[in-house]
């Protein structure tokens, strides 16, 4: 459906986006993941025809997206990172304005504005000004404003920035409803858990380049470790700490061990290796104060690809 091919953009000496390519299939949700300044917003701006790429192209169903009155834009919806609303214009008037920009008018526009208000749960606040809304309500209206023209592809640029957990859940409910309708989404974020919850496909971007472009399962498979075991020992007297770490690292299925005082973070090739490791610690006479197992997270994938965390 959407094809991004070799996009590049420089600002002076700084190369913000460097040959970014990826595809979005119909009905697919693509998570565009990367730290602040990675080039996500610049990429999104080029996809939406807001800025002209130095090189590369964006096509939607074979039609090139360009600046200006590009017809392909009719099938795109953008939810900007900022609250792009007129604060003193009633919610329904905001929606009518953004609908009219896509050629909607009259009864069709009114009907569609009411539909999207209902979708984001703001029907009862239609005549109120956004300046009287909570942050979460504004975010939902911000999404609604991109839905008036029923776009095939919705691009959300960090739509949950500055939103409380409750409102975040409400936004996710809306996005999942859109996804269930078969709409394609591009979701940019530096929040791993959000992307993990929504995306069928993940594009990891850093320093303007695509580092990974695959479904989440495949990204996990590429990791040397699949699970993690956190152990907190009641004592460390039986073996010296260095010897304990070295012994654990030599066990079958253990990929690595990090020690922080009496806590041990043990990376495993699979969750099935957790039980033998715990049994070995017991056999060695260690008393466990606490233990927990966890699946490897996207954060670890990003760490393994870039050597730094997403929030660096």
């Amino acid at each position: 459906m959407l094809s991004v091919s070799g996009l590049s953009k420089s600002y002076g000496e700084r190369r913000a986006v460097d040959g970014v390519s990826f595809q979005v299939q119909r009905g697919q949700t693509v998570g565009l993941l990367g730290p602040n300044g990675a080039g996500k917003s610049t990429t999104v701006s080029m996809i939406c025809g807001l800025i002209k790429p130095d090189a590369g192209s964006v096509t939607l169903d074979g039609e090139t997206v360009t600046q200006g009155a590009s017809a392909a834009k009719q099938r795109l919806g953008l939810v900007p990172q900022d609250l792009a609303l007129y604060e003193e214009l009633p919610a329904i008037e905001n929606l009518k304005l953004f609908g009219a920009l896509y050629g909607l008018k009259g009864a069709a526009l009114n009907k569609r504005a009411e539909e999207v208000l209902a979708l984001v749960g703001l029907s009862d606040r239609a005549k109120d000004k956004p300046s009287t809304f909570s942050g979460g309500m504004k975010r939902r209206l911000n999404i609604a404003a991109a839905l008036l023209h029923d776009p095939q592809l919705l691009i959300l640029d960090e739509p949950t920035v500055g939103v409380d957990p409750q409102s975040r859940n409400a936004i996710f409910d809306t996005l999942e409803a859109l996804k269930a309708q078969g709409r394609s989404l591009i979701y940019t974020s530096h929040y791993m858990e959000e992307v993990e919850r929504l995306a069928d496909h993940i594009v990891i971007i850093d320093h303007g380049k695509v580092l990974a472009d695959a479904p989440p399962a495949e990204l996990y498979r590429r990791l040397p470790t699949q699970a993690a075991l956190q152990v907190e020992l009641a004592d460390t007297d039986i073996l010296p700490a260095e010897l304990l770490v070295a012994s654990l690292a030599g066990l079958p299925g253990v990929a690595g061990v990090r020690r922080d005082g009496v806590s041990l973070d043990i990376s495993l090739h699979g969750a099935s290796h957790a039980a033998p490791v715990l049994r070995w610690l017991d056999e060695q006479g260690h008393t466990l104060a606490h233990f927990a197992t966890a699946r490897t997270k996207l954060e670890d994938i990003f760490l393994s690809l870039t050597g730094r965390t997403l929030r660096d």
Partner: protein, 425 residues
């Protein structure tokens, strides 16, 4: 077209919903124009303002009293008699522009001096240093009244006049012989005969004698329009100023939209940047034109300002509105942040309205400045509005002033679009 209409509609709703801005844009120019209009002569329906002067009458002679009475009777002066101390205090405090002292003995000394050389009696005049123009006017009037008073008495048939003539003849006869002496004795002899004849006439047949100003002026205010109305110019000036301030908001609105991401949302739609800018300019122009019409409507209702050429007025207003809107676009195009742009734009606007004659008419400017200000768009706006109101000029002047403003609008708009496009790259 749907998109442009929707964006214009949005701007109009936002503007009309902002009651505070609306009141500020509408009330402020009316209040200030009412003030400035009264300074510029008001609606011209009342009497001309008189110059208030103080009179210290220390001379009780016939001539001294005559001069004082003559000053009091002058239609251009409002004379209040007071003591020397009070006169000096009031002038010093700025409560009186000029005070004239007629010192004791002035009348006699002035009468004696008329035909004799030597020192002349002094007439002290105190004045506020900030009112030197008024001083010149008062001195002119004073000269007229003193000359009329002194010569009327000396050359008339009164006993005072005869005494002055006799005294002057005696002094002349005692002086050494000369050609001038002979001529002057002849003149005074003739005067004496005239005085004796005047004295013999009944009072009502006497010509009164004396010298008078040998002309009168016939004053006629010339303009093609109705009677001059100072409010018309004041409303034009203040309207132009405050509508330009509104134009700044047009630009600041764009800068805020860019900061808030609304700009990106607009341009993500299948419309061009030129359409977005055009809609903003049109909505700004509509608001500007609406404000100017409302301001002049108030001027017509409250201060009897007349619009003498409705079509010409409409042309000038529309051209000014478009120029204002494109000025707003220019601010948005070259402004970096709303805060910085606002400060700079307010400064530029104040300079424009000052040089454009919005505060005081351009004819009071020095000649070189009057010539320089033809490159200031506000000058054409104010001149155009003056022309279509109190000057009552024709459609040709409206076309000229509107045309120049439209040219400025095109230049400002083109510069703004060029800059916006450069930024989009």
């Amino acid at each position: 077209m749907t998109a442009i209409i929707a964006m214009i509609r949005k701007d109009l709703i936002l503007y009309l919903n902002d009651k505070r801005a609306l009141m500020l844009n509408l009330l402020m120019p009316i209040v200030l124009a009412a003030f400035f209009g009264s300074l510029f002569g008001g609606s011209g329906s009342g009497n001309n303002s008189k110059i208030e002067i103080g009179l210290v009458q220390q001379d009780s002679s016939v001539i001294g009293r005559k001069v004082g009475d003559s000053l009091k009777a002058d239609a251009n002066l409002s004379v209040k008699e007071m003591s020397l101390q009070e006169a000096q205090d009031k002038v010093r405090a700025g409560k009186l522009m000029v005070a004239v002292v007629i010192p004791a003995g002035f009348g006699d000394a002035a009468g004696q001096s008329l035909f004799q050389s030597g020192s002349k009696p002094e007439l002290p005049v105190y004045y506020d240093p900030s009112q030197s123009t008024v001083l010149a006017m008062v001195k002119g009037l004073l000269t007229q009244h003193v000359m009329q008073g002194v010569t009327g008495e000396v050359m008339g048939g009164s006993a005072t006049g005869a005494k002055f003539t006799d005294d002057s003849l005696k002094k002349l006869e005692a002086s050494p012989a000369s050609e001038d002496k002979e001529a002057l004795v002849g003149l005074l002899g003739s005067l004496k005969k005239f005085q004796e004849r005047e004295a013999a006439k009944p009072a009502k047949e006497s010509s009164g004698g004396g010298l008078s100003v040998p002309f009168t002026t016939k004053d006629e205010a010339l303009s093609s329009g109705p009677k001059y109305n100072g409010y018309a110019h004041a409303f034009a000036g203040m309207g132009v100023q405050f509508i330009l301030f509104m134009g700044i908001d047009v630009g600041i609105g764009i800068l805020l939209a860019r900061r808030m991401g609304i700009w990106n949302r607009l341009l993500a739609a299948p419309i061009t940047m030129s359409q977005v800018l055009l809609s903003r300019a049109l909505s700004g122009a509509m608001i500007a034109a609406g404000l100017m019409v409302a301001i002049f409507f108030a001027a017509m209702l409250m201060f009897k300002v007349e619009v003498t050429n409705v079509v010409g007025f409409a042309l000038v207003v529309v051209a000014f509105a478009l120029m204002t809107a494109s000025f707003g676009l220019l601010i948005a195009a070259f402004g970096k942040t709303p805060e910085a742009a606002r400060g700079l734009a307010v400064f530029a606007t104040l300079i424009l309205v000052m040089l454009g004659g919005a505060w005081v008419p351009t004819f009071v400017f020095p000649t070189w400045m009057q010539q320089l200000t033809v490159v200031v768009p506000t000058r054409w706006a104010v001149d155009g509005l003056d022309a279509m109101t109190w000057r009552g000029l024709g459609i040709d002047v409206a076309l000229q002033t509107a045309g120049v403003q439209l040219a400025f609008a095109v230049v400002f708009g083109a510069l703004a679009i060029w800059r916006f496009r450069a930024q989009a790259r």
